[in-house]
Symmetry: C2
Subunit: 70 residues, 2 copies
């Protein structure tokens, strides 16, 4: 199991967190996503390491920006 | 036709605006709802005047607070 934290900007409320969680959670192999709105920290748990580009694309699909690892 | 503006607090993003718009728009007779997130101004267009208590209840259902007329 792999746990990776990313820094995401632009999230302001619980709806934003839900959108990110839904998109990132849809990536194959991802079993859990935790989002902390005040810090912008998104923690992804997956069976195997997930390609950061896939996480970045999912975050952008939700309407936010992945800055990099947190 | 009646146009009434209300002041709503707690909205931070477009998702918040959508939630408020959806709930207030569901009130009988309401034909249009405009939400401005930065100012918290919610403008309601309706066939006849709508009871403020109904608007307040809809805003609270969405998770926000109607302060009063704007």
């Amino acid at each position: 199991m792999t746990v990776t934290a990313y820094s995401v900007t632009g999230m302001t409320c619980g709806h934003c967190a839900s959108s990110v969680s839904e998109e990132v959670g849809a990536i194959a192999g991802v079993s859990d996503v935790k989002v902390d709105v005040p810090t912008g920290r998104v923690t992804v748990t997956s069976e195997n390491p997930v390609d950061e580009a896939a996480v970045k694309a999912a975050v952008e699909e939700a309407g936010y920006t992945l800055v990099g690892p947190a």
